[in-house]
Symmetry: C2
Subunit: 344 residues, 2 copies
DNA sequence: ATTTAGCACTCGCTTTATTAGAGTGCTAAC
DNA sequence: GTTAGCACTCTAATAAAGCGAGTGCTAAAT
């Protein structure tokens, strides 16, 4: 559909605009060494590209700027192969050299490094704890009225919640209850816990425990948080430095979205299959993100998706570099996690 | 030193400027009902006030704006008494009506409500966990190589850390160690733990435990985090809405400070004694905070300071209102915490 | 049939003028 | 001591002018 020459011009326009942030004119293009024909020819080609919707003018006599369709085509067909620098690779590898054994910290660190390297914002969706299996429940009385209930999963995830104890419950009862819970529930995925408690544990507790009712409510509060997977944002302030957000109103609009977080939650959850995915401008279908692109990748354990890691930047984003970086982080993260969890 | 009339004029200038953000001229002042004399008189008085350093002009023929010294005087001597609305009081009380039993969550909620009510940024310095007393240590093996070490304090604070186990350590040894640690260390303030382990526990462990060395290192890693008290920021983005930061460069400068966090840490720690404290502009002695004021208050348990809660806003801040709100939050917080912790 | 040179034209941006408005300081009268 | 009056200053807003980058079109060259 597009001639080679048109592709060349489109590619150079996008590359140049990503680099400079300025609309690209025919004269600028004609000076590029890849280009052997005159500015007049370029003007003709650009007029065609514009008619086809790949580029547009910011005003009637300005240079051209990629349209959303232009970026899309660029990302799909024209992406220059990108060699990460040794330095970038090392920085990323440094995440995994430190002895971090906690998923949460590892994820946060990854997000932070990625936002530092790209100068954009990184969003990470942590794994949903729902599928993690219960390792142990502990109830540690703090004083006569309160105790802290702690739930540990096989992945080392710890959830804690301070609860009130029923008045004048014997300590032995608390211990009994904890024993019963651990006996029956170890290895059960968190999402099945409440069910399982109702069907299999409740009647046993009723027999052995005073204030069985209160105790049961007490233990289910921390559970039915039904925790929506945690989300981490890193480098929000990098957006301040993007020239497209020099306008304070655009900035406010953007941060309204960023602070919401729930939109990101939706967007990151949408990414199911493997691989890197690029959503440009309105493709994200979020008000206030018209000028942003979101590049997402999943990380997984042995092929099973755990969560999503994404970079948010202006549509005028260094797609090539960000995709490479994100890809590296996601695969490295997956490899490390697979090593952690696969062995049992 | 200042005449009553000068005080009146100064107060009205500050009030009006806080309200409108615009320099205040003699004509505007003369229209206020409290003022019974002419604009010419006001001009004379203003010239004097300027000479004394309480107000300044933004340019040679502009109205006047409070200087830092002016704000200082206003806060020290002219603060109008402020009646919180019933609504504000209720919103704040709502923090404590919900059944939150966790210090951390309570603090975060307070910060969030405070930033919502003021439209400024709230910073809270959590209590240093160093003084909390150990309730229990648990080591929960996850698989052959890793375990999660959990430390619970008498305040319900939970610290967790995933550690590696020495190769082929018997489970019984882990249990033994945990028992020994709990026997000897329960009730010990966290800050003394490492010492106490070295002096009193190490030799006992050495007798009973294989790989005593590795195990000891393992348990001390999560401890010597030496956690600098946690800090929470809420409502950073409120600063976007302050007209003084409409200029993108000032905004960037401000966020450079805010993101640093360590400066706040220093500032909030400085506040030792009881009561509300106001630091205006350069009084904070932080580059980038020249146009900001920080209002701090401490919260405490039975008179003993736990942490600091502060509101950050532009120097042109609603001092009266913020002080009242902050005061209410801090005392309510202190009361609730005193009820929690005082009873044992 | 392409490609290119040339040219008139458009539009945004920056600079310069112009003006209106708010506010001041000073003087002289009250 | 207070005030009215006035000349003066400076900002902010608006308008006018010029520059430069870029375009589209036409006609000539390949």
């Amino acid at each position: 559909m597009l001639t080679d020459r048109q592709l060349l011009i489109l590619k150079i326009i996008v590359d140049d605009f990503i680099r400079s942030g300025q609309p690209v004119g025919s004269r600028t293009l004609s000076k590029k060494e890849q280009i052997t024909f005159s500015s007049a020819t370029i003007r003709n080609e650009m007029a065609d590209l514009e008619e086809l919707g790949f580029i547009e003018k910011t005003h009637i006599s300005s240079g051209r700027v990629p349209s959303q369709k232009g970026y899309r085509y660029y990302v799909d067909h024209l992406l220059p192969p990108f060699r990460l620098t040794q330095k970038d690779v090392q920085t990323i590898r440094s995440i995994f050299n430190e002895q971090i054994y906690e998923l949460e910290k590892l994820i946060q660190k990854s997000a932070q490094i990625l936002s530092d390297l790209t100068n954009y914002t990184t969003v990470v969706l942590g794994p949903s704890v729902k599928e993690h299996k219960l390792k142990t429940i502990q109830i540690i009385p703090l004083n006569a009225e309160t105790a802290v209930a702690i739930i540990v999963t096989d992945t080392g995830y710890v959830e804690k919640h301070v609860v009130t104890l029923p008045p004048s419950i014997p300590t032995s009862d608390v211990e009994k209850m904890v024993n019963i819970l651990n006996d029956r529930l170890t290895g059960v995925p968190l999402e099945d816990l409440t069910d399982k408690i109702q069907t299999e544990v409740a009647h046993v507790l009723r027999e052995h425990i005073q204030s069985y009712d209160h105790m049961l409510r007490m233990i289910s509060t921390p559970l039915d948080l039904n925790a929506p997977a945690q989300m981490f944002l890193s480098g929000k302030m990098n957006m301040l430095r993007q020239p497209e957000f020099n306008d304070i109103d655009k900035l406010r609009a953007l941060f309204n979205v960023i602070e919401q977080e729930k939109e990101f939650y939706r967007l990151l959850r949408k990414h199911k299959q493997q691989g890197v995915q690029v959503k440009i401008g309105t493709e994200n279908d979020v008000e206030g993100m018209e000028n942003c692109s979101l590049i997402t990748a999943t990380y997984s354990v042995g092929g099973e998706k755990l969560g999503t890691i994404a970079v948010l930047g202006p549509t005028r984003m260094e797609y090539s570099r960000v995709i490479s970086l994100l890809n590296l982080v996601a695969t490295d993260l997956s490899n490390v996690l697979t090593m952690w969890y696969q062995k049992d």
